[in-house]
Assembly symmetry: D4
Homo-oligomer: 226 residues x 8
């Protein structure tokens, strides 16, 4: 397990991260972390590693692209001084190219996406203990689908950025592809973008596996294993 | 893993099971399973064992005691023909003795509790592949506390009932006690009864461990383990 | 133009037909026909053929399959004595197989679909001046997609049924395919099922073309053509 | 067809244009164009000319007169850089003279109307590819009616302004008059001002005919014409 | 003044009478009489003749025609045993012929109107001290207007019925015509049917004048006349 | 009749004047004048003297005392340039002395009341055609009642102020006393302060009588007097 | 203190008793006893005599007269088997005579009031340990006021009924009169009927004093008296 | 009784004081004092000592700690010039340490608590007639419970501060402990923090006893004591 006692883990992203989190703090009582994978990660950390007291903060904002993250990076990331930072962005950067194709101002193309992401990570990496970069994803099994193909290209940019900056890398598309072998896309997401509870658990698992989370600890007897 | 392809797993209980599930079906799209441990169990089953197609149904109803379960057992359990049945009941049977002590009609004392639970399980066990009995719990670390002590007695009844009827047994109080060693009760439940997301994950883990759920399957690469 | 003065044209179907129509009548003032293709058809009939006084009735109901239509056919079709009947059903018959695959009671498979549709149309054809059968559709350009492929099979059943009963036939999938050559699916439907205003206009046009609607009448000067 | 690939078409006007459009942008997903003739125009453009990718923007605001348009012209027209501009204004300029006759500050009389409209068009014409001027209208068949007569005078001003500035001109009153030969006014508008869906289709048709929209294109097979 | 101490005066009609009256009683505290002419009549009776203690009851129901009155006449008129009865009905009988011309079941034509009204009045006249018949009206100054002309025919039926049954007769159309000489229709009614507060006062005055109401009583000093 | 063609009549006061009037204008369509005596005055002026086109404005604000009027006098009276001004204030100045006796800051005692009222009227009288001063009132028949006695003292101040400044004076208390001879206070006002519809009509009549309103004009035939 | 361990004390009455109590039970968690004197009595009993475990039930219903109590007496009193019964009724029996004087069906005059109350008490007295009869009251200091005088007569009937049936008697009017010597009526009740929190405390004190409640018990040290 | 005629008594604190009080004033009509112990204190003062006219003001704010009080002390205490001041703060200072243990910024530890409280009291004591310091409390009978133990330490700080500054001191924990001997914690508070009506009465009694309130005054006959 890479996180240690008392560390602060901050997530930033779009609606998939947001999931009705509290504002402006993104932490606290009564479901402040929203209803998505961030809440799952927090619940699992607290249930399995209560002694670590990991502090999870959710800074997702619905509809945001990497361009929007840049505008609020100082306030929502740097000023909050996280020990660990997780970033999952790009869905809307791509989606707007496909659902509102006639409004180009709303699109964030690959060059801007890579450049902006790189500059944010390069600025932040030295200030934190670790950064986890998660790809955006599209819950569509056909990799010839136009939007899926574009999303894969953005995922490749995330991968390059993770390698270039020595970050942990989570391939969420690969995690979903595994499940899509068994289930049709609309079982996991009404609109191929916003996951069901099961889809959010896929994300939480992919993230936790990457940071060395042990599902069954040697000392764990809570399940009364037979 | 004890559940097999295409089986139906039905949960019945009180508000801890209910968690705003859909009515009357307790299954389907858009969060029909509510926001608690039942939704977690379903999400984890679907994320980790998508090929099994386990069908989860939530028949929890807020405020119910075992006396209420008896009234709706035919409609909500027998008629729905589950393959597996999970029961967690008793919170309100005990709680009303402590929060409305002057209204005895609302209390379900130990004799009635044990008798009713036993008769429901005895009737149903032959009709299903398996039954999981989960204790009620009280998120209070002091086992001398009056209500905690009573709850432990009801938990013991559940244990006896599980043994007598050859059911799987989940000691949820034990699962919470483990976490309570590290965290104060109100971190896990505002009122010591309704768990936070972390508390529901404790319940989901305890349940899944008991039915042989493998957190990391030999074929699992979704987390891109390093 | 196949409809004549004073005739009643009744549409029946699922949410794509319903679109928040008034209940129980499905006709009248203040948007009683809903916000979808039925309202478009009515608006175009009234704007272009005001002298005909065609009476349009919307009997769509969200979530319905052909099995549900059968249950309300007497009340919602026969008893209302339409002169013309338009039917577009099948979306949910197929969709439930893909978004809630574990609940087979909610699926209507091909045999039941064809048998039920045939029996409804055979019963009704002699009672009306004309029947228009519209295929269900799936706004997905990849015809190898599993759900699109199934939907195409249901569309083929509609075609066979139209031919067998001498009905007018509208291939809505073909109409959408034409537009999908230019636009990505999510421009036309958030969830590939419920069309945008443009998608509903595609349906209205396909329907009107089939009944001989003339977009520009010899007497039409309303546009002040130059 | 006068519009070409990728052009932006902006509508400005009062409540008849507004129809609950999104604010502040007046374009985008989920019915952002409102529920009136602007949405119809967009839907028909997208359904029939998907390859053109015309971008439609709705800048209508309920209750506005030409005096209000002047105040927001820079922000809502000039700054948005449309390729084509459509203007329909004047209803409230006239209506307030008849429904609140005792509040003269709310009336915009003919001189101010003509002067203001002329100055806005003269300023904007050089900046765009084309301007379409639509008359205000009053859904009343009796042209001796006091308010109808006044509205006709404002319509004549629009016509003069179109001619003087070399704009396309749409006579919406003439389009409604054609339908009013068959239908009584209250079938088309509860208050003789705000059209039903059919009335909005009359407006959309009049507009589209003027810009050279072809209802049935040589390549169109979407209706499966027999 | 024709009403005497302690009498009950019951009004029945459509939305113009209803005006959000209380249900089911149509009398009592807190605006139970609605916001229209019935409330005005009651307020003026109580303010000017407090010693009479006239009990006013409002049985208007929005949307009703004379056909609907017939269905509830026993419960809403006969069983309530009024001393005086006032009836104003016919607006919707006529209006539906003009705003939903294609739905003939919603129209009540002249023969049915006259026959039904006559039979209700003939049945009730012997049971009460007096009956006041008020014409329906249409707030449109042009008596060649199609709907106004029809409404005048229904008013003539009311007049004949009043004469035939020896009832008091109030010509509400004549009362409005007087005001329409000075004010345009939409100053008095947004939709030419539902009056503003001023329009309701016109109705109240016409009614009160007919029953012999004295606006300035010989004993009245409340206005501190100079 | 003292008002002449096209004049503006502005009312200012507290909740009895306000009655849910529109904000900020206090005039216009759709019940902008509220539901109290101001709306009655306007309705009667328009119904009986439509040719005068009197413009009524309601500047009442719930809870206000004369101290509050002073703060908004420039904006709500002077700047709106009325031809006639009507003022009814004092209810809350007195009431707070009786319902919140322990909060002296909320009381406006007699000296301040008289001084403030005098200074507002003296400033405004020269700017308008006429001023009508209406007393505050208390709907309680017992003139020994403590609050009634105080209210009478404030009424006497209004009378003195009217005489000193040559204003029309309306003794609303006297108008209510006349009705209170017949009806118990709670028939006219739930709380002895806010009148029912009948109570507002008492106020409207007292006001109109004072300005020379003729209830039955020589030319009036609207009631079809027999 | 007349009540003993574990007894059930049931209150029945009108809105003054009701105060938004829970339905149908009138007891339980979360303010089930409403916000009035019943809640105060319960709170004081529980705070001062926690060891007695008195169970308080609130069966007040807004708007009720003694005639309404009769209709629900079996269900709401007899079937609930109270040990002690408290009745306060009569406000509406009197009030309707004064606020809706023209609707005599809503009035309950003295004969009916006395007869009904006597018969209910005579039936119930043998079934319970004790009955407390509380007078209705009117928060008006002037005992010559018409409604106050009538209320006093009803209070006298309650007193006679208490004596005749050997019940405890609480003169609530006398309790309020004491306070009215110092405070004006509207400080204690907006409408002279529904008390403020202070007025409800007056009622609670009068009731508790009558049943022998000791405000300061010999064993009480909770106030840390100095 | 320590308070004298016309004095202002101001309470400041957290949600236990707040209880939905009015904002911003915290005094006035219609439940402005909220629903907790402050309202009880006011009701009892007014019911028992109406002649004193004590003015009670509630400045509680939910969620506040002593750190928050410091920020608003000038506006909410000093500027309002109370004669008596009552302070009960500390619940949230402690609670956040136990329900959100991972967010240290939300915790107010003992040093800051004592220092801040002392400085506020020292500043204010000279300006008022008297100060009452009330301890925070935790409705948990087990004094070994971690949060209860901490709360007791904060209570000890309040006691020291009271002694050091010569204030009246109310030990609310002791008052609750007395009741907790008889009743389980959840009977008095759902979450061990926010009291039921009975719990608020415990607080009101403890406060009133400390200021010399006489429950039964020598002149009191309101209860018709036998």
């Amino acid at each position: 397990m890479r996180l240690t006692k008392g560390q602060k883990l901050l997530f930033i992203g779009d609606s998939i991260t947001d999931c009705e989190r509290n504002r402006p703090n993104g932490e606290g009582l009564f479901g402040a972390l929203g209803k998505g994978y961030v809440a799952n990660v927090d619940a699992l950390l607290q249930a399995v590693y209560p002694e670590l007291g990991i502090r999870v903060v959710n800074m997702g904002t619905s509809g945001h692209t990497v361009r929007d993250l840049k505008d609020r990076w100082q306030a929502d990331v740097i000023d909050r001084k996280p020990d660990w930072l997780a970033v999952m962005i790009g869905t809307n950067d791509v989606w707007r190219q496909y659902d509102t194709p006639f409004i180009p101002e709303w699109h964030v193309y690959k060059d801007e996406y890579e450049h902006t992401l790189q500059s944010l990570i390069a600025e932040t990496k030295p200030l934190v203990n670790g950064v986890v970069l998660m790809t955006p994803f599209y819950i569509e099994s056909n990799d010839k689908d136009a939007m899926r193909a574009t999303m894969d290209e953005y995922g490749a940019i995330v991968k390059r950025t993770a390698e270039r900056n020595d970050c942990l890398f989570v391939d969420t598309q690969a995690a979903f592809n595994k499940v899509l072998e068994e289930l049709y896309a609309s079982t996991l997401a009404w609109d191929r973008v916003h996951p069901t509870a099961a889809g959010h658990m896929v994300l939480a698992k992919a993230f936790l596996n990457k940071i060395g989370f042990e599902w069954v600890r040697s000392t764990d007897t809570s399940g009364n294993k037979e």
